[in-house]
Chain length 187, copies 2
Amino acid sequence: MEYKRPFGVRIDENGVIPGAKKLVRRLSDMRGYFYDEKAYEELLKEDPVVYEVYAVEQEEKDGDLNFATTILYPGKVGKEFFFTKGHFHAKADRAEIYYALKGKGGMLLQTPEGEVEWVPMEPGTVVYVPPYWAHRTVNTGDEPFIFLAIYPADAGHDYGSIKEKGFAKLVVEENGEVKLIDNPRWK
Amino acid sequence: MEYKRPFGVRIDENGVIPGAKKLVRRLSDMRGYFYDEKAYEELLKEDPVVYEVYAVEQEEKDGDLNFATTILYPGKVGKEFFFTKGHFHAKADRAEIYYALKGKGGMLLQTPEGEVEWVPMEPGTVVYVPPYWAHRTVNTGDEPFIFLAIYPADAGHDYGSIKEKGFAKLVVEENGEVKLIDNPRWK
């Protein structure tokens, strides 16, 4: 029998996994995601990087595991904090585990029916993402928010429903505080 | 539909996960695991804690994920460094991901045919344990070696084969250096 090879790799202080597949999401990759369209168009002139992902992925096979770091930069579109697109798993019953490495933020989770949960994250926080919950991370601080995620190799990503419907809540700064407010556009 | 609840929990500086199920392995729980039986009996008078595990586990269901921290204490039995028992997964094709938090050590891995790999670990190291490999962690330093593990909820543990046959290599200190030597008792 042919076995896959074990390996170790050290995440560097900036969250980079050497040799991993890199994905970059700029603001221009996220049209329609933020509530304040005017602020979006204004910031688009700079088109900042919102987040980067370094992923080490296996074949899509039941029982195998992938891991990835995300570097989510600080910033806001209007009063809404920078976030990752967010997704359900294509195999909806796949769970995921996050571990926060640096910075400050949280995870916004949502059931298919629109029930929302918010889990604050700081270095050392483990988050359990149960099967069936969409999940998005949010940087509520002023430095890069960096975390490690471990997910089943066959989980897959379903970005479509979140892109169309969004999350029922927005994570915003109001009077210097982090608040969750209803998303007026959520349906 | 009833959904499981998401949650966040912060691993403290000693590797403890508040609220998690705790397991303690003392030297007396590991009879037959170390090579030097005379040194084992001598140290047994103190019966030190070799390691502690804090586990947050779900029902054994395909696609769900467990996580656990291990605090593996520094020490030796004869010239052999303290280690965890080590196991295959009961569902042998389940992978696992480790993330080193504190201290210094490594992972000893072995196929069912006895091929061995050694992966050094320091804080920031992610280790990919592929399907089918038995795995044991070893503390090669002089402070607690602490790491986080994420594994499929239905992986299970098969300790039996390692308890009977051991690993083909021992991790020992010789002239102040960490060395892998053949296990004379391995069959």
